[in-house]
């Protein structure tokens, strides 16, 4: 007994020494710049908490895993839920059939309200009717601005993708652009196609679309570089998501093309790029607001019978432009991952 424990401790000794040495080495390796230590510890938009009875709300989106945009929507929803004494059930799946099942799941749980994105409205039609039959109020957010009333939703929070595209197209005219390329990171996605179509509608120059493989960044970069080489007349690259804008800016600067970069949607690295000038402007649809208002509206309906947008009109959360003139005001919020 004694012997074995003795020999074990002797065997452990080199390991302990190794661990200690490793710890010491690591301690000497700390970074003098950047990193977590440099990040300011900032509090979120926390307010008080309502004393209304606890209610349960389901938020069902068509998010694909790991998308920064949807992370912000969810944070907005969580902030509203915390404030309104709401238990939030979040679920998501990019395939329409699975999303419909998730809504059914929420109905089965007898939630007090459902907020749902209508990326593929037809697939959700039946299940939304079931929710109505079960007397569960349903609101829409993000996608489906032209469909929400037909499906009998109470309210809608989002941006008209075509309108946002048109706004960006006008902005390109003001900037004096002649030829733009619209970079689609997910071939066949309706919302993304609508954005490019909107740009084409108002932009007085020509627009070409470019499909890239959104799950492989090096390939996105190569493909944009290739497009810039193929057509030297391109003077604006329009991306449809913040991470792709940053990659496009790299491709532009390395290819030596004089093209400028504009984008839909925002994240914290993008605000830095706008203030540095490597990206001209971003069209923000305020995803935080979409998530927040969707949950808050269900709470208001339950506790005070209110309809946002009067039940007739959608509540538009975009397009809001972020450029050099207002980026500093936005940057602080974006750094927290809430704008």
């Amino acid at each position: 007994m004694d012997r074995s424990s003795h020999s074990r401790s002797r065997r452990m000794a080199p390991l302990v020494a190794l661990a200690a040495a490793a710890a010491l080495t690591l301690a000497g390796c700390s970074s003098g710049s950047g990193g977590k230590k440099a990040e300011e510890s900032a509090e979120g938009a926390a307010a008080g908490k309502a004393n209304t009875p606890r209610m349960t709300v389901a938020l069902v989106t068509h998010q694909s895993p790991g998308d920064t945009f949807w992370d912000i929507v969810r944070k907005g929803a969580e902030a509203a839920a915390a404030k309104d004494n709401v238990k939030l059930i979040y679920s998501a799946d990019p395939s329409a059939g699975v999303q419909a099942n998730l809504v059914q799941n929420a109905i089965d749980q007898k939630v007090d309200g459902i907020a749902v994105t209508l990326a593929k409205p037809d697939a959700l039609k039946d299940v939304i009717a079931k929710a109505k039959a079960a007397n569960i109020p349903v609101v829409g957010l993000n996608s489906g601005v032209s469909e929400w009333q037909k499906l009998g939703l109470m309210e809608f929070f989002g941006q008209d993708e075509t309108v946002a595209g048109e706004a960006l197209g006008k902005r390109l005219n003001e900037a004096g652009a002649k030829k733009a390329v619209c970079v689609i990171q997910e071939q066949g996605n309706i919302g993304l196609t609508q954005r490019c179509d909107g740009v084409e509608k108002t932009f007085s120059g020509t627009v070409e679309t470019l499909n890239v493989n959104g799950t492989d960044m090096p390939s996105v970069k190569s493909t944009i570089t290739a497009k810039l080489a193929e057509d030297k007349a391109i003077d604006y690259v329009v991306t449809l998501g913040a991470p792709f804008a940053l990659t496009a800016a790299q491709a532009v600067s390395e290819s030596g093309s004089g093209a400028k970069v504009a984008t839909f949607d925002l994240n914290k690295d993008l605000t830095g790029a706008i203030s540095k000038g490597s990206i001209e402007f971003a069209v923000d649809q305020q995803p935080y607001l979409q998530g927040y208002l969707a949950i808050d509206s269900l709470w208001l309906y339950k506790n005070n019978g209110n309809y946002m947008g009067g039940g007739e009109q959608p509540v538009l959360t975009g397009p809001a432009f972020v450029d050099k003139s207002n980026v500093d005001a936005v940057a602080g919020f974006a750094a927290k991952g809430t704008r």
Partner: protein
């Protein structure tokens, strides 16, 4: 392209013709056949065909900068296709290789940022994690005897979920924080993601690494005992074991080699884009496997080369970018890609059949 010279036949040369053969062609034919019987010849011809095709149809491809861009795209596929090909020759394949790249990049980024360490600490920890993933795959395979499809499908799903959940848990977001201002970043960038000037053309360093790794892999496959072991375990595991080949060691080390590749490509992504999106990498594993198969490696194992996947990756990069350089309707992009790859694979098959028919 000078890599062809370093390639050696991966299959035994056909026996020399008997002295009684006197129909005049025999002196020439065995050499031509021997050349054609190499696993990489089909893909070499396919790659040349694709290159010539795009040189004709897409004028911008003739520019040196465009070629550097195509080779860059090829290199990011090719560096991973090499260990994936070796593993395939060894009779296994790895579905977790695409997300493993992102796992590695996320690890390095989060370790450095969250602990405010020199980025090299993150890079080393990421290497350990990547090798551990490979070790786990190999160990599970050897211990359980399950097919590698199942084992690595499990790892693929585990890593895909863990990438997302751990990133969200640690950073509060689904992408990592920018590490470009941290100590050691510039050194690491120089190693993994820099570019240098060749006659006015910016060439990415990954292209150099790709060719270096390919040369190394070719040497290992054809000139070392370990290379023989790889062919042996892929050809017939039981006979290999019977003649004293360490099957367990060979299989596990091949999976760890894929881990090393994932680490290298992960570091490239991290140091060229400063941040990593946690949902990326899904689907890339099939592209690596495709590059290896187009490169002449058999899905059943025991046959293939390290130089074939180099051309396989080049073909992939060439077609993917060539379509853009040619300015074709982007809606057809995936369809074009599929048709050209299928065509190239058929050329490959035809060449191999012609060569082995006597």
């Amino acid at each position: 392209m000078s890599m062809t010279q370093q390639a050696e036949p991966a299959v035994t040369s056909p026996p020399a013709p008997g002295p009684k053969d006197t129909d005049g062609r025999t002196a020439e034919r065995p050499l031509a056949l021997r050349l054609l019987a190499r696993p990489e010849v089909g893909v070499f011809l396919g790659a040349v065909a694709v290159l010539v095709f795009f040189l004709i149809t897409a004028p911008p491809v003739r520019d040196g900068g465009s070629m550097a861009n195509i080779l860059y795209q090829s290199s990011t596929i090719g560096i991973m296709a090499l260990p994936v090909a070796l593993l395939m020759i060894g009779g296994e394949f790895d579905l977790s290789s695409g997300v493993a790249v992102i796992t590695s990049a996320l690890t390095a980024s989060m370790i450095s940022y969250q602990l405010t360490m020199n980025v090299w600490v993150g890079v080393i920890v990421a290497l350990i994690v990547s090798l551990a993933v490979g070790l786990f795959n190999g160990w599970m395979l050897v211990k359980t005897g399950l097919p590698s499809f199942l084992v690595t499908l499990g790892t693929f799903l585990i890593l895909q979920g863990a990438n997302l959940a751990i990133t969200k848990l640690v950073t509060g977001n689904v992408a990592t924080d920018d590490i470009s201002t941290m100590d050691g970043f510039d050194q690491a960038k120089a190693l993994f993601a820099s570019s240098f000037d060749v006659g006015g053309v910016q060439v990415k360093i990954t292209i150099v690494w790709w060719l270096v790794f390919a040369a190394l892999a070719t040497w290992v496959l054809l000139r070392t005992k370990y290379g023989n072991w790889i062919f042996a375990v892929g050809g017939n595991k039981e006979s290999a074991r019977a003649v004293g080949v360490p099957v367990t060691f060979t299989k596990i080390s091949l999976f760890m080699l894929v881990g090393f590749g994932a680490w290298f490509v992960g570091m490239h992504q991290l140091f060229s884009f400063n941040t990593v999106q946690s949902g990326e990498g899904v689907g890339q594993e099939l592209i690596y496997i495709a590059a290896a198969v187009i490169g002449g490696c058999l899905l059943t194992g025991g046959y293939g080369s390290a130089i074939g996947p180099v051309f396989g990756a080049f073909m992939f990069g060439m077609v993917q970018q060539g379509i853009v350089y040619a300015g074709w309707n982007p809606d057809w992009f995936k369809a074009f890609l599929g048709v050209m790859l299928l065509g190239a694979t058929l050329i490959n098959l035809w060449v191999r059949q012609t060569a082995t028919r006597r």
